[in-house]
């Protein structure tokens, strides 16, 4: 009952955040001018609509991935970056910009997805049979390596322009994305999200530990595949289209857990909705901050997220050991 009420509320909030994202900006565009045949109508169709759709998808995918990974690793501090998929996709994107492949249609997206794909294959090879621990260590290795290579590429950028373009992209933003970008990323995100949504029961079983889950007939190897592919495709595509947006996957499952309880399967869909709400709202806010340029979404999220993380740590230390 309460959870049904909460889900209704989340759906309403999602709708509100979508509307806000469609309207907010240097120019407010009210629903009556959405179909207008003037500048407002053009801004709505070409800029606001793809941006809002993208915000929704990326937020949903990040929230969902975070919820799944926290459930799988049974660690409330895990987030979609732990697997190293984001860092690898980012490296792919950075290389694309460095080599000028981003000027080719879908060049940037393709390179970032190749990066994500490579990390998926490596993770499956490294994590083979190692269970969650092998998995998380493999992710750390990948993250560190991809991060170092990214820094290396920036350091050898031929000119300050190129370096700043790379850095700007890395910081994550939803600005100036076209409908084509949305449509390219959408299938990857949708497939990834569908894979992740099938993991609920296995994640519940893992509440009893690995042996408990295995004795209930859960195939942990299959679960690992589902998670690597699901997170790889969805988060990889989100990084490929918008750069690295952090904290959503960490914060949202926590907030959701305090309303829905801690059972992993119960928080998957709500976390996706929560992620969409948070991302859409934050992306609307960065547009409204006065000033010459826009604050990058990735930065805004980190500014919002860091204090929250601190709060979480304090609560964690107070809680039962």
């Amino acid at each position: 009952m309460t959870s049904r009420f909460m889900t209704g509320l989340l759906l309403l909030l999602t709708l509100a955040a979508l509307l806000l994202s469609l309207m907010a900006g240097k120019v407010w565009i009210w629903p009556m001018s959405w179909a207008a045949d003037n500048a407002d109508g053009w801004i709505f169709l070409e800029l606001r609509l793809p941006r809002a759709l993208l915000g929704f998808c990326i937020g949903a995918v990040l929230g969902l991935s975070g919820a799944v990974l926290q459930g799988y690793l049974r660690n409330p501090l895990a987030d979609p970056t732990v697997l190293g998929v984001s860092a690898s996709a980012a490296l792919g994107g950075v290389l694309a910009i460095f080599l000028g492949i981003n000027l080719v249609p879908f060049g940037l997206f393709g390179c970032a997805m190749i990066g994500a794909g490579a990390s998926i294959l490596l993770l499956l090879a490294i994590g083979r049979g190692g269970g969650p621990i092998g998995f998380i260590l493999g992710g750390m290795v990948l993250s560190t390596l991809a991060g170092a290579l990214t820094a290396f590429v920036i350091s050898i950028a031929p000119n300050p322009f190129a370096a700043s373009e790379i850095i700007n992209w890395l910081m994550g933003a939803l600005t100036d994305r076209l409908m084509e970008d949305v449509l390219t990323a959408l299938p990857f995100m949708a497939i990834g999200a569908l894979l992740l949504l099938t993991t609920g029961r296995a994640l519940d079983a893992l509440t009893l530990g690995e042996n408990g889950a295995k004795s209930l007939g859960v195939d942990l190897f299959r679960l690992q595949w589902l998670i690597v592919l699901g997170v790889g495709l969805s988060v990889g595509a989100s990084v490929a289209v918008s750069g690295v947006v952090g904290f959503v996957g960490l914060i949202v499952p926590h907030l959701i857990r305090s309303f829905y309880g801690e059972q992993p399967s119960c928080i998957l869909v709500p976390s996706a909705l929560g992620g969409a709400i948070l991302t859409l709202t934050a992306d609307s806010l960065v547009r409204l901050i006065p000033g010459p340029g826009e604050m990058r979404l990735g930065i805004a999220m980190a500014v919002l997220g860091a204090p929250f993380l601190l709060l979480l740590l304090i609560r964690y230390r107070k809680g039962p050991a």
Partner: protein
Amino acid sequence: MNLNVQNLGFAHGRTATLEGISATFEAGRFSVILGPNGAGKSTLLACLAGLQKPNSGTARLGDEDITAMPAPTRAKRIGLLPQGADTHWAITSEALVALGRIPHLRGAGASADDRRAIAAAMHATATDGFAHRPITELSGGERARVLLARVLAGEPEWILADEPLANLDPGYQLDILDLLRQQAREGKGVVAVLHDLHHAVRFADHIVLLHHGSVFAQGAVDDVITAQNLANVYGIDAHLSKDEDGATQLLIKGKMRS
């Protein structure tokens, strides 16, 4: 129906090695696996539960090879209470017990059958009083009963318990042992890894005593728990006697002097 291993051998990484184990566990009996640390008790239980694949020999349920059974079928027939009472999320007792129904679930929701099995398991373990309390807020004894209820909810033919008494106060230990014995009386097969020899003497119908990865002795309590065997396997000086009811009494006097 019995659970049996024939000439079973197991060696993998850092887990204890097993060699040439042959043993039969009968339904309707409370069987206990004993042995010093590192003797391979948990490994044997994992092979019986189908979690580990033996390197040689067989582990069978009746005449079916356990490792060849499809995981969901196996999970319905053999329930395992794993070592350690860790539960990773603060879910309610009832939600935790409901996890035991996972092998039976098809489609989305719980059926009337599932709900009946969950209620029965919670009733049998007297855990229905705190069905809606988070598992993290329960005492050790309450949590142990909820975890056992989780296994019962799956309505398995076999209940395997790996050190179910660890970290429990004496009263709570007896609660769990009584519940396990009750299940055996009702016709289920119960196999538990225990550490406490007194509990084994008091509750077991059948004992398998492991030493260095092999069966040192097996059979009825009085045949296995002898002063000689305890001296050889545990290096302890024990005295055994019968009390006025004919029950075996065990007194551990100290370490053997070598």
